[in-house]
């Protein structure tokens, strides 16, 4: 019974601590919004094609070529591409570099020379593809014309009528996280790991307030105090994590996949890991200031290398080691694999790892408490 009384007291104190709530709730929700909105392009697999304008200079020696070009410009004009011949006095470099035109092309008997804009690479690529298709069909037509004039004329005539100068082939891509989806996961796991701070101060606060004396003088065991405080701390931190998950899901419409309960279970084990780590560090390093410093350094490194602020990929050497040591790395990778690839096994591995490490630190805490006369 004393266990529940201590747990309830812990929850009550946490609920009344506005700073804790601001930190545990407002911080991830605001960061999710800021980073999600600010870095949306970095995650997007979609691109809206803007205005496509081709500036060109054509010198045709053959009527067929001229006719074919006209047909081609009409055809791509219907697709929204504006094709404009260069006027005397125009500097094509300036026109393209300033973004007024997407690309510049010269068409003559030597072939087609293409100069695309480095600013609008997608639009420039589209134009390039169209011109390549045009050149291929023209080359095929002229080659056929030499062998059989009738066939060649027919090819050139119908080639211009074709609209599919760009044949798009898309693989059925798996769903990928957008920026809000990514930061919903990374901020939630980061805030779950931040449980380490309150856990680290669980007994330090009792010592600082001198209430540890009353707890020790009461007819309850050290084990009951430890379990009661842990239950309260895990509950309140899990509640914060749950609120952040639900907020991201229903307000930001972040995607959490088809295994929602498994996601929550993984997050709960991460909170357990963080609370055990916090307690362990708090007891292994007796000075509260030193313990707090270690926790904060660990958190910052774990957050950074774990990809909380931006995804860290293709690492080498020491950076790979550091990223792999971050609990956030394990949990983020596993959760993303679960959410987007339905890889359940990856999450169970991380759950096992979290619980294993939590158990080790809990054992260390219990040994430390048993060896001490007071907290």
């Amino acid at each position: 019974m004393a266990i529940w009384r201590i747990a309830l007291k812990e929850i009550l104190s946490s609920v009344r601590n506005r700073q804790t709530f601001l930190f545990m709730l407002a911080l991830p929700i605001i960061l999710m919004l800021i980073l999600g909105a600010g870095l949306s392009n970095a995650f997007s697999s979609k691109h809206s094609v803007g205005e496509v304008r081709l500036l060109y200079q054509a010198t045709f020696s053959e009527n067929d070529m001229s006719a074919y070009w006209d047909s081609f410009t009409k055809a791509i004009g219907k697709e929204g591409v504006e094709v404009v011949p260069i006027r005397p006095g125009m500097d094509w470099r300036q026109e393209v570099s300033s973004g007024r035109y997407t690309a510049y092309a010269t068409i003559d008997k030597e072939g087609i020379a293409f100069f695309g804009s480095s600013k609008n690479t997608v639009e420039s690529g589209i134009l390039q593809g169209m011109l390549v298709a045009f050149a291929d069909r023209y080359a095929l037509g002229t080659a056929a014309f030499q062998a059989s004039p009738g066939v060649g004329t027919n090819i050139l005539k119908h080639a211009a009528e074709s609209k599919d100068f760009i044949q798009e082939t898309t693989l059925a891509a798996v769903r990928k996280p957008g920026s809000i989806d990514y930061y919903a996961v990374s901020m939630t796991t980061m805030i779950a790991l931040f449980s380490i701070i309150s856990a680290n101060y669980l007994f330090g606060a009792e010592r600082a307030r001198k209430t540890a004396i009353r707890l020790m003088a009461a007819p309850i065991s050290k084990g009951e105090i430890l379990v009661g405080k842990m239950i309260g701390n895990v509950f309140i931190n899990t509640l914060c994590v749950l609120v952040v998950v639900l907020f991201s899901k229903f307000v930001y419409h972040a995607y959490w996949g088809n295994h929602f309960w498994l996601v929550l279970l993984a997050l709960l084990t991460e909170v357990l890991l963080a609370v055990s780590l916090g307690l362990g560090i708090g007891f292994l390093l007796t000075k509260q200031e030193g313990s707090y410093m270690v926790v904060m350094i660990f958190l910052q490194c774990a957050s950074f290398f774990g990809g909380a602020y931006f995804p860290i990929e293709n690492t080498e050497g020491i950076l790979t080691l550091l990223t792999n040591l971050s609990p956030l790395r394990w949990i983020n990778t596993a959760l993303l694999e679960l959410i987007y690839m339905d890889n359940i096994a990856a999450v169970w591995k991380v759950i096992g790892l979290n619980l294993g490490i939590a158990a080790v630190f809990l054992v260390l805490t219990v040994i430390s408490i048993r060896r001490r006369e007071a907290f």
Partner: protein
């Protein structure tokens, strides 16, 4: 008188340092027992062992006939501790504080509510039960500190400096509360740096020094120890430093201490050395304002026995 607490050959070591050295002591039922000792004398260590906060290295403590190490739960159920420093939660109301700690002693439901309200009313905080301690004065916090220790109606209450840093009105309230608790049948162990408090409320006093009890008894019994001693109080104008060493060198003088503008000199009563003391002060160019000879009191007993001030 039956003994509520029996301390037998109690020793506590921290490494090589002996904090409590083979202490033996009995405290009877209904006593207000004063524990006097300078800082580091072993008083707090003894109190912490009685409250089961520290384990004895040797010896035993028996509370109400049971060894407190073997019957730890029983001992804790029957003991209440009022720590020297405030041990309350600032983010919980007065009621929640008392109720939480009383709940740890097994109180539940209506009984818990009743005892919590009684404890708060006892310390005069009945009308403040929904207030948070952060809005309390120092005296009110001290009273709440006491309420948290008494709601479970312990047989033995340990009060470690319960009046530190509070106004005289709150101090009087607390001292009255101590007396009332005692009248209700509680045995109290009381420590204070204020000698007059100990003199006023304690029925028996022990003086602790270097981990040992060097004297024990009623106030009268203790002052009778030093019948061969007198105390001379000399008021002076404070301009410069007084040379304590030169006074200590005078024949018969056993201890000298300065408290603001008063020199308190303990001397052997059979030696007539007042003239020499005054001559020395004149020689040191001290402007004397008054000279009084005091009957021995608890403070002079403490000073004579330990050679130290209680506040040292």
């Amino acid at each position: 008188m039956s003994h509520v607490l029996e301390i037998r050959n109690l020793t506590k070591k921290f490494g090589d340092f002996i904090a409590v050295d083979n202490m033996t002591l009995n405290i009877g039922e209904g006593e207000i027992f004063g524990f006097l000792g300078a800082n580091g004398a072993g008083k707090s260590t003894t109190i912490n062992m009685i409250a089961s906060l520290l384990r004895p290295t040797k010896g035993e403590i028996v509370l109400l006939g049971k060894n407190i190490v073997k019957d730890s739960k029983f001992a804790k159920m029957n003991t209440g501790i009022v720590p020297q420093e405030l041990a309350i939660y600032e983010d919980m109301t007065a009621y929640e504080n008392v109720s939480f700690f009383a709940g740890l002693y097994g109180l539940r439901g209506a009984m818990l509510r009743e005892r919590t309200e009684e404890a708060l009313a006892f310390v005069g905080l009945g009308d403040k039960h929904q207030s948070f301690p952060k809005n309390f004065s120092g005296g009110m916090k001290r009273r709440l500190n006491i309420a948290c220790a008494i709601a479970h109606l312990p047989k033995l209450i340990i009060m470690d400096e319960p009046t530190v840093g509070i106004d005289p009105q709150s101090r009087n309230y607390i001292l009255q509360s101590v007396r009332k608790l005692n009248e209700m049948g509680c045995t109290i162990i009381y420590t204070s740096h204020y000698m007059e408090e100990v003199e006023e409320i304690c029925t028996r006093i022990a003086i602790v020094d270097h981990g040992k009890i060097i004297a024990e008894g009623t106030k009268e019994q203790l002052t009778s120890i030093i019948t061969d001693t007198k105390e001379i109080w000399i008021g002076f104008r404070a301009d410069g430093a007084i040379s304590i060493e030169s006074l200590q060198g005078i024949a018969g003088v056993t201890a000298v201490r300065q408290e603001e503008n008063t020199l308190k000199i303990v001397s052997k009563s059979e030696v007539n050395n007042l003239n020499r003391i005054i001559q020395q002060l004149i020689k040191d160019q001290v402007e004397i304002r008054s000279v009084e000879e005091q009957a021995p009191n608890l403070e002079s007993v403490f000073l004579t026995l330990t050679g130290r001030n209680l506040r040292d």
